[in-house]
């Protein structure tokens, strides 16, 4: 057997087959959920295994969108996620720049404090957060939820941006300065294009975190019409039974924005995750 053929075979068994198996583990549940979402209740609980439904029906989608009011929850999630992403993107860029390029007093303790905020689980603070938001009259508003998401995401994302910006040589800043750029212009026109993959990573990460968030929204919001989609999906899990078809349809709908986002940013995302990996 030729060496090339041997290499190809080895590659096939060592690389492609394990990769295919891993992919099957990830993709099969998604495809199964999609399959369930197009079926009626009787065919879901039937003993007969069938991957493709006998007849495709979109009743589950209609039901969750209109009757369960998932359309409203979806809209709420879009408002909170995009609201959060906008500010987190902007502020973490500025924070990252300051932490990387500006020397100010207590910088190191400040960074340690930023890290420490990430070490306390949200559930630990939930009562205090509730009281604080109540005092600020923000406990039942999407604006309050956006603020909390920003507060929760900003420290980690700022440190991440700091790491990406530190990867850009300072000489570039100096060159921009010599060309007459102010610090803001340098950040916007020079640094941002250079750290675009990292910036996209921050955007994607904070969007997913906000989109999937459950605990804070469920605890703080007292008007059910303001719930995000992560809470709304829970309506489909009954006390004694679960409407699997509707739940699958709801999950597929909830997946659409993150999937679209990742499809758009995936190239930058991979670059971004690697780009800051070895920078201090």
């Amino acid at each position: 057997m030729k060496q090339k053929t041997k290499n190809n075979l080895a590659r096939f068994f060592v690389l492609y087959i394990p990769l295919f198996l891993f992919m099957a583990f990830i993709v099969f549940p998604l495809l199964w959920a999609m399959s369930l979402s197009f079926r009626d209740g009787a065919s879901i609980i039937s003993k007969e295994f069938r991957f493709l439904p006998k007849s495709f029906m979109i009743d589950n989608y209609r039901y969750v969108w209109n009757t369960v009011k998932l359309s409203q929850f979806f809209k709420n999630s879009l408002i909170t996620s995009f609201g959060c992403v906008f500010f987190v993107g902007l502020m973490s860029l500025m924070n990252g720049y300051a932490l990387s390029r500006i020397d100010f007093g207590f910088k190191r303790p400040f960074m340690i404090i930023l890290l420490m905020t990430q070490m306390v689980p949200m559930v630990f603070n939930i009562s205090a957060i509730f009281i604080l938001m109540t005092k600020l009259n923000l406990n039942n508003s999407l604006f309050g939820i956006i603020l909390l998401h920003i507060a929760a995401s900003l420290p980690y994302n700022s440190l991440m941006m700091k790491s990406f910006i530190s990867g850009v040589p300072r000489e570039i800043d100096e060159a921009a300065s010599l060309d007459g750029c102010t610090q803001v212009q340098t950040l916007w026109h020079v640094i941002l294009p250079a750290v675009r993959p990292g910036f996209v990573t921050v955007i994607a990460y904070s969007f997913i975190t906000c989109w999937n968030e459950y605990l804070v929204s469920y605890t703080l919001l007292t008007d059910a019409s303001k719930f995000p989609i992560s809470v709304g999906l829970k309506y489909l899990q009954g006390e004694f039974s679960t409407d699997y078809g509707a739940l699958a349809a709801g999950c597929v709908i909830a997946l659409i924005p993150p999937v679209l986002l990742f499809a758009y940013v995936q190239r930058h995302l991979v670059e971004g995750m690697n780009a800051g990996a070895v920078k201090g």
Partner: protein, 438 residues
């Protein structure tokens, strides 16, 4: 850069608009002279939500001075309620699932309702044993009413009458049932006589079955825990030995969802649950009543009576921060009686405790399992054992003991040792509770 600034401004304006909207709503509610009451309900589904919203809309139509704001919450809201009450932001009225009421009484989050009940029509509408049961659950020991009862859960065996009849078996007594289960089992057809709940919630259900078998009428008698009574040990021993012989191996980890699926898919002949799962079985068996039936918990060998819980844990509480408790109680009494409670109980699988609903509402007669439960509850052959639902810390013991029960099922722990440990834990809670009351 200008674009960015404009975008920032737009986002702030939108966010500010959202923020300001809340304030305007609050102002509007205050300025039109109406009394605003907030009502929260948990474990809601779209159907349950629609029922509450319609009920409240009917109420507001006849009470134009009252504006009721409903919040329907998915899943159990016990944690959310605790946080909201602690921050004085709880609703005026809450549909409580029950066990947590004791905690709220201790923390002073809710108000007693006995004086309201005394003056209200609900006093004559609710079953006397229902009121007595609520009073017996008063953690302060003063027999006060802290919640308006809505209905009681009734635990039954869901059985396959076609299977049990085919083998000439019966489910009226535990002995008959234990004889029938092996005969109904045919492993070659993936058919098991029984499905055991070994996972989440298993110990709670085990307790119900133990007392049904032993007929002991209280978890504590003269201050001593009866969990490890020899009759209970006998039951756990007989029951656990059926695991993986007349049950599927997977039962070890079954929670309610898996248990229900085993019955509804035709793998198991007998399961224990309450009436709330009736609608699932109707759907699964396409309303073929020859394939599923609810029967009372079997009669034990020692008393000849049905022994079960009067599990009346769903009820309405009124928050201490409620600014209009009179109006809240009036709304509460409306929600706890008539068409409102009838629909509530139908959807939550409870037997109503409103006498008029019990006597008149057709669904209680039309659905065989509710008819059976109503008759059983009113019969002389039933004993409701005192299960001390209010005892602080009890629910945690149930959760903590699930792995131990699994050890019993696989034969690594004896029923005696398991129940001795369980009884010890309950006894500790009991002694600690009464020590603080001295």
């Amino acid at each position: 850069m200008k674009k960015l600034l404009v975008l920032t401004l737009v986002v702030f304006m939108i966010a500010g608009g959202l923020f300001a909207q809340g304030g305007k709503e609050a102002e509007a509610a205050a300025s039109d002279g109406k009394i605003t009451l907030t009502v929260w309900q948990d474990n809601t589904t779209p159907d349950r939500q629609a029922h509450l919203e319609k009920t409240v809309a009917d109420y507001m139509a006849t009470h134009p001075n009252i504006d009721v704001k409903v919040t329907s919450l998915p899943n159990s809201a016990a944690d959310k309620m605790m946080v909201a009450f602690a921050a004085n932001q709880g609703p005026d009225i809450y549909f409580s699932s029950g066990p947590e009421v004791s905690d709220w009484v201790e923390a002073g989050y809710i108000i007693p309702l006995d004086e309201y009940v005394e003056k209200s029509f609900v006093k004559d509408r609710l079953l006397p044993q229902s009121i007595a049961d609520v009073k017996s659950k008063d953690i302060t020991g003063q027999d006060r009413i802290w919640f308006l009862p809505l209905g009681t859960a009734f635990y039954v065996l869901w059985v396959r009458p076609d299977w049990i009849n085919a083998v000439g078996g019966k489910s009226d007594t535990w002995d008959n049932l234990f004889d029938a289960i092996p005969k109904m089992t045919d492993k070659s057809k993936d058919q098991y006589g029984l499905a055991i709940r070994g996972g989440k919630g298993s110990v709670t259900f085990l307790e119900r079955m133990m007392y049904s078998y032993s007929g002991i009428d209280s978890v504590f008698i003269d201050g001593k825990c009866t969990i490890n009574d020899p009759k209970n040990v006998e039951f756990v021993d007989r029951y656990s030995k059926m695991y993986n012989v007349y049950t599927a191996e997977g039962d070890l980890n079954y929670g309610w969802t898996e248990l229900s699926a085993a019955f509804d898919s035709g793998s198991a002949g007998v399961i224990i649950h309450n009436l709330g799962s009736g609608d699932n079985h109707v759907k699964a068996f396409n309303n073929d009543l020859t394939k599923f039936e609810a029967v009372p918990l079997p009669v034990g060998p020692y008393t000849g009576k049905i022994t079960t819980q009067f599990q009346q844990e769903a009820g309405l509480v009124i928050s201490k921060t409620c600014k209009h408790p009179d109006e809240a109680f009036e709304l509460g009494s409306y929600l706890a009686t008539g068409a409102s409670v009838s629909g509530f109980c139908r959807m939550y699988g409870l037997v109503p405790v409103d006498k008029e609903v019990l006597a008149k509402d057709a669904w209680l007669k039309d659905l065989p399992w509710y008819d059976m439960a109503s008759k059983a509850m009113l019969s002389d052959n039933i004993v409701f054992y005192n299960y001390y639902s209010w005892l602080p810390g009890k629910n945690k013991v149930y959760q903590d003991l699930v792995p131990d029960f699994q050890q019993v099922l696989v034969g690594k722990l004896s029923a005696q040792d398991f129940l001795d440990d369980w009884a010890g834990r309950f006894q500790k809670l009991y002694d600690e509770f009464y020590a603080t009351k001295k």
